[in-house]
Symmetry: none
């Protein structure tokens, strides 16, 4: 099945925003065994939109259009869709009622220009948007079925996963079931993982399992796309490959499928009725921000403290200033973790301290991370040099802090050499 994507909007065309909606759509389809063959980006321009719709309608079986469903004058998708299909725009009473209810629930009156969002090409199939006022819809243009989706990422995601992918799978007539198995890891780069996992896909018969990766620093996602006649068949084919991936990536696997690192850490703590306190310096609240808002975290995350200066850290945890000449050490981190654990009465404490190098931000810019995990009777720590600029040091330290805590809670070694650190 030939699938195309058309992204619309001056923001995307002028490069003001990077087109992450497209990479999301394409990846999501790949996960279900579908492939995008062609992508077009055009601006909020009648002539270009019409031509793009017509060309895709000649080439493709299915087209996903993203953006242009908003209430303002530069949102043109419905209008041009109607023109390309040779039909009129008509008011969808159904969608108008939905929008009015949406505003009412928020105690607001619907502004008059939102009415435009309920004008759909005659004969279009409404595709529900449970989280916004932009109405998704499907209709035929040329030989293709077009699916119109909103530009707001969370609205696009809900609509694509819950409603468009099933329609595409039905249209493709694929009889085989597809299942995506995912492993999330921290500390192994993509080419290293590729080497480590050489040959694993061959443990399944007939190329029924495909190995792939998606690197999004600092995590790497290892994906197994499995095909079979049904889920039972898929499970049988996937089992030996899955097992081998777990064996080869070992302690580096931090979560599988929809689970997250922070979710795993929270579950480990909650299962033992433990509580957590955090101390952060240059990560400046990012570790706390990953875990403390999750449902259930209110019972686990007791307190987070952040300060940029070590003296301020010490003051906050009731510690006499540690003699720290020549930068932060593992011992400093251990002292701070122990102090905050005592100070707050939590069962566990994590301290992530960072010494940034001097000078302007650049690709060789590095930072020294010293982190420690303390309980009432134990302490573990590690030190690492992370290189790649201020932002990468910060992102890497957040991940390392959470991952070391996961390792500690799972009884794994807190220290294992990772691909992103600089060996001295």
């Amino acid at each position: 099945m030939h699938i195309e994507v058309i992204c619309t909007g001056d923001e995307v065309l002028t490069g003001k925003i990077v087109n992450t909606n497209f990479s999301y759509i394409s990846q999501k389809l790949e996960d279900f065994g579908l492939s995008v063959s062609w992508e077009t980006t055009v601006g909020d321009d009648r002539e270009s939109l019409l031509l793009a719709f017509q060309l895709a309608g000649q080439r493709a079986d299915a087209v996903i259009v993203n953006g242009g469903l908003g209430p303002t004058v530069d949102d043109l998708s419905q209008e041009i869709a109607a023109q390309a299909a040779g039909v009129d725009l008509v008011l969808s009473e159904e969608w108008l009622a939905k929008m009015e209810a949406y505003f009412q629930r928020r105690g607001r009156v619907m502004p008059p220009n939102n009415r435009k969002q309920a004008m759909l090409p005659a004969g279009a199939e409404v595709i529900d948007n449970p989280v916004g006022t932009a109405c998704g819809f499907a209709l035929n243009i040329g030989r293709a079925r077009f699916f119109f989706t909103p530009g707001v990422p969370r609205e696009l995601r809900r609509m694509l996963e819950e409603q468009i992918v099933p329609r595409l799978l039905a249209k493709s007539g694929m009889q085989t079931a597809v299942y995506l198995k995912r492993f999330h890891s921290y500390g192994i780069g993509e080419s290293h993982a590729d080497t480590l996992l050489a040959g694993v896909a061959e443990l399944a018969p007939d190329g029924s399992v495909k190995l792939g990766f998606r690197a999004h620093y600092p995590q790497l996602e290892t994906k197994l796309t499995a095909r079979g006649s049904d889920m039972e068949d898929i499970r049988r084919k996937l089992a030996p490959v899955e097992q081998e991936v777990r064996k080869r990536l070992g302690n580096f696997i931090l979560a599988e499928d929809d689970r997250t690192l922070e979710g795993v850490v929270l579950a480990e703590l909650a299962s033992r009725q433990a509580t957590l306190s955090l101390v952060e310096t240059f990560t400046s609240g990012q570790i706390a921000a990953r875990i403390a808002h999750l449902p259930g975290a209110e019972k686990v995350v007791r307190r987070g403290i952040l300060a940029r200066e070590l003296a301020e850290v010490c003051a906050a945890v009731g510690l006499d200033r540690v003699a720290a000449t020549g930068g932060i050490t593992r011992e400093t981190a251990e002292a701070v973790a122990r102090a905050v654990q005592r100070h707050t009465g939590s069962t566990h404490a994590l301290a992530v301290l960072i010494d940034l190098d001097e000078g302007a931000d650049r690709i060789e810019f590095a930072g020294t991370v010293c982190l420690a995990i303390a309980t009432g009777h134990d302490v573990a720590s590690r030190r690492s040099r992370i290189v790649g600029g201020r932002e990468w040091v910060r992102l890497g330290a957040v991940e390392m802090g959470l991952d070391c805590l996961r390792r500690y809670l799972q009884g794994l070694p807190v220290y294992e050499r990772i691909d992103f650190e600089k060996v001295e």
Copy 2:
């Protein structure tokens, strides 16, 4: 001048890598007053590449092709360019010599498959690549001049800025300059802003200023694209529009152009040698994470404290538990802000406390935000109900906290009704 961009490669088409090369190219052209009208992404596939080249060659005056110039078998750009132009591939002795010298300087022998990179369509103009082995080139296909560039970002950048932009400017014979003016606001939705700003663009002559928006909750960006014969002309045309936008959006404008809300807050604090402490509950470190890592924040952000339970907040700031029956109030937030200001000795303190509604996450899920800003001698506060699910409540509260602090520091009213709150 009609300019198109064609991005090639399976990695981009499958969404494995996000297409930042395209946004870079488009932004760079905008900087020089040139605009991309159409973008196409195709994979490493002969048929698609040929069709993409032919279509763009019919529509455009100039086309920039990115990727496919490497030494491996799936790099097809030269081959398909020759086919589309109806010419043969010929060896460029000039480029072969350059490549051999390139390898020699690195003390290596050129691998035989790199020879492929010196095979160019007959009659192509060589465009130098001073930082790699992929040879850029230009040739005519259809009515357009095509410019072929490497996929490696730093090679693309050098080639685009130093060699392709000057060729495009010469070809366009452009006399007009373009300038983009941006306003960032919080609290006004896109359709509301569209209504508020109706007619402003008409304050400039001859449609020389165009109004547009970019919504990325919780912020809205209002954009004015202005054209003129030179920057002086643009400034003259833009001035009345710019002034009117400032007047109509008023206190809601939190920053202009490249400045950010957190940057403005930090600058306001730094300019008066002030220091800041933060207390957060459900925002769980996100407010701190926005501001505390910025260069210069180490002198301003003294301490951040987060806890999910009010009792824990009070313990952390040395406050007897505030009598808080029936949820958090403005008074609670004021007491907490005053206490943390005293406790840490900072000149300013911001406390953002949230009571979440009961029940599962859903689109109608709301939270009550009570925030306060305290100095040694003053306190200001506001209360708001934010609706839209756990994540939106959290994002909204982060923005509201920072924006109220901005308003306080700029002497503006901390309370003004916003579009995202639920009126009770």
